[in-house]
């Protein structure tokens, strides 16, 4: 073969690749903005796979004028995508779904839609801490709030003739856990401590249920160090006594431990505590009960711990702020409230109980009104400021304290020092 032919071959090969690239490019949608800037486009980013159908059926039906585009993004990559969109130019979504924990840092940037006008007058319809925002604005309300409960396999306890007393304190639960340990030869647990960041958040749930917080509502460091150390001491003591199962619900092995009745009780929110439990261990239907978050001592007020939640927020710089407002407020309409109840369980809007049916009996929990009971416990005021740094600092200190390298007091001092340097 001659040289010219070969060269032609290579050139046409390169050209073919280039042509294929261009073809792939033009074949994909996504740059509708050029088609005369239709303001009625509404782009919504979500991380929850249960959200898109609800949005498409519920919201899009209620507001047929909007051309709704729901974009799914893995939760771990959400803030990354958002940073790139915000700094990189004009590809901002109108609305994003955010985990409550990550919202504080974002709202502090002042780049989100101020909903004070809409949500301000409704302040009394939400518990303290549910309405969140930055710079004195209200940017969102928390959905599926992370009210914690103690989920108990009471049938497994009954096999050892153990029962949880009515209206228990944590001391009562610890006593039950000790009885269980003795009766089972140390193979069954009432407490679960996950590793890493989930472990830090578990500690936080206990801490927040006692009124503890790391930051006040103005984003200033405000830690009751004694309370923080005392709570950590409580959790480490549980571990030292051999009362704690170490693992996390995202592990495949976790649900086996529940199935085998190794885990007989654990503290969790509704999503994982009820939805995931029912899905993963359907055969234990009727065995489980919800015990609302125990008090610390007899005379105390009952208060739940918080484990996160999610929310929708609009972006200031996006094309369709009116659509974003309509969308966020739609969740408080009867259809929206029903959609919240269906996908998230708990509804943070207190008048919801009068508008939709929330006191349904759940057969999995022996007919207990789980949603109702879980939301009946007052929600703590807890502020997720600087959360990535805060969570990282807590995680490291809690790890060291569990390993016995430092005392709980030292751990808390270390956290406070790290947060103080921010």
């Amino acid at each position: 073969m001659n040289r010219a032919w070969k060269r032609k071959g290579v050139v046409s090969g390169v050209a073919a690749v280039a042509a294929a690239l261009t073809a792939c490019g033009s074949g994909n949608p996504g740059q509708a903005a050029e088609e005369g800037a239709v303001v009625d486009d509404l782009e919504i980013w979500v991380f929850s796979s249960s959200a898109p159908p609800v949005i498409k059926e519920g919201f899009a039906t209620a507001f047929p004028d909007y051309d709704v585009d729901v974009v799914e993004i893995p939760i771990a990559d959400l803030s990354q995508r958002l940073v790139v969109a915000m700094q990189g130019g004009d590809n901002l979504p109108d609305v994003v779904q955010l985990p409550l924990r990550e919202s504080g840092g974002l709202f502090a940037t002042g780049q989100f839609l101020d909903l004070t006008e809409e949500l301000g007058p409704m302040e009394d319809d939400f518990a303290d801490g549910i309405l969140v925002g930055g710079n004195g604005e209200i940017n969102a309300f928390t959905m599926g709030p992370g009210n914690m409960g103690l989920w108990v396999n009471h049938a497994a306890l009954a096999e050892h003739d153990i029962e949880i007393p009515a209206d228990p304190t944590w001391n009562d639960i610890v006593a039950v856990a000790e009885d269980l340990k003795a009766a089972s030869g140390g193979t069954q647990y009432m407490f679960v401590q996950p590793p890493g960041a989930n472990g830090a958040n578990m500690y936080n749930a206990f801490f927040s249920s006692r009124g503890g917080s790391w930051w006040n509502q103005d984003g200033e460091l405000a830690v009751d160090e004694d309370l923080a150390a005392d709570t950590l001491q409580f959790m480490i003591d549980l571990d030292r006594e051999g009362l704690v199962y170490h693992g996390v619900w995202t592990d495949a092995t976790y649900w086996d431990a529940i199935r085998n009745q190794e885990i007989v009780g654990w503290t969790m929110n509704f999503g994982v505590g009820s939805t995931s439990l029912q899905h993963n261990v359907p055969e234990q239907s009727g065995q489980w009960r919800l015990v609302t978050w125990p008090k610390w001592s007899e005379g105390d007020d009952q208060r739940t711990g918080v484990f996160g939640g999610s929310l929708y927020a609009g972006l200031d710089g996006a094309d369709n702020p009116a659509g974003a407002r309509d969308f966020i407020m739609w969740w408080l309409s009867p259809e929206g409230l029903q959609a919240q109840a269906d996908t998230l369980g708990l509804v943070s809007y207190s008048p919801a109980a009068e508008i939709i049916e929330l006191d349904t009996e759940d057969p999995y929990f022996g007919g207990q009104q789980v949603v109702q009971e879980l939301s009946s416990v007052p929600y703590p005021e807890f502020h997720f400021f600087h959360w990535p740094e805060t969570e990282a600092a807590i995680t490291a200190a809690v790890d060291q304290a569990y390993a016995g390298d430092i005392t709980p007091e030292e751990a808390v001092a270390q956290i406070v020092e790290e947060l103080g340097a921010l």
Partner: protein, 297 residues
């Protein structure tokens, strides 16, 4: 490298080399170099989310270098890098040489198996290693238990966790680098081995005098590629330990990720990247020099 440059100018037109490298640079300049330059630029600015960037000189570098966490992350990364390379390089050379000596069909099967780990999605890797490393029900601890050892807290002990990550990393990339080295071996003509054998060279001598020198360019490639990857370790740690326990597996890129996308401080993230890049370049040049001087000796 080995080419001699004498009388070159008469052999070909001056523009010839540029024509050869042009297509690559047509892609590299906008999409590679362009973004590197922008990233360098980013390290000199403060760029709050949603606002315009503002020049702050070396402030972000000062922030990064004074941050004890960054020091921790760099030390962790270096620690894991050294352990990783010391185990990986001899192992993958060994595997490549053994592959060459196997029957063709056997070698193909072996290659498929050892190559497969790097093709596995990280999420699935995390699942499998969670099950293998698990303290309570893990398979490895099950075996250790049978010989009366353990349970070993592979991922929950801050001394062991870095090594558990190294082991996972080696499992993932060993076959991949071994195959690249094997391809290098395939490019060494059999005549060299035959000549060496005629001279009565044993296996070790053939390796020392034929394989090693002729494979050096590819070995150099594997060393550079694997050490850059080790400096930029992130994904495996992210899914398996998330930097813990007690920050024992916090890596440099994890720090960069946190600064840029969790604390929304792009300048800080970029400055940390530049410091990391500096470390990478220095260590690569040093390694290159060392290998070259070894060559002359």
């Amino acid at each position: 490298m080995s080419a001699s440059g004498r009388r070159r100018s008469q052999k070909y037109h001056q523009s010839t080399p540029y024509l050869f490298i042009a297509p690559f640079f047509l892609l590299f300049i906008p999409f590679g170099a362009g973004s590197v330059l922008l990233a360098l630029g980013m390290s000199f600015v403060d760029w709050p989310l949603g606002q315009s960037p503002e020049l702050v000189g070396l402030d972000k570098f000062a922030t990064v270098l004074e941050d004890p966490l960054f020091g921790r992350a760099m030390r962790n990364t270096l620690y894991m890098l050294v352990g990783f390379l010391l185990a990986l390089l001899p192992l993958c050379l060994l595997v490549a040489v053994l592959l060459k000596q196997l029957r063709r069909r056997t070698a193909n099967v072996v290659q498929v198996v050892i190559f497969a780990p790097i093709t596995m999605s990280l999420i699935a890797v995390a699942l499998v290693f969670d099950l293998l490393y698990n303290e309570r029900v893990g398979f490895v601890n099950g075996i250790l238990d049978m010989i009366g050892v353990g349970p070993v807290p592979f991922l929950s002990d801050s001394d062991l966790a870095p090594w558990s990550i190294i082991a996972l990393r080696i499992w993932r990339v060993l076959g991949y680098y071994a195959i690249i080295l094997f391809a290098g071996l395939q490019a060494i003509p059999d005549e060299f081995y035959e000549a060496a054998e005629l001279d009565g060279a044993g296996a070790w001598q053939r390796f020392r005098h034929v394989t090693f020198p002729l494979l050096k360019p590819v070995t150099m490639f594997v060393l550079v590629a694997s050490s850059i990857a080790a400096w930029e370790l992130f994904a495996e740690v992210d899914v398996l330990t998330d930097g813990g326990p007690a920050r024992s597996t916090l890596t440099a890129v994890m720090y960069i990720f946190g600064a840029s996308f969790e604390q929304f401080d792009l300048g800080k993230g970029a400055a940390a990247s530049v410091v990391l890049a500096f470390a990478i370049i220095v260590s690569t040049v040093v390694a290159h020099r060392l290998l070259r001087s070894d060559d002359r000796a």
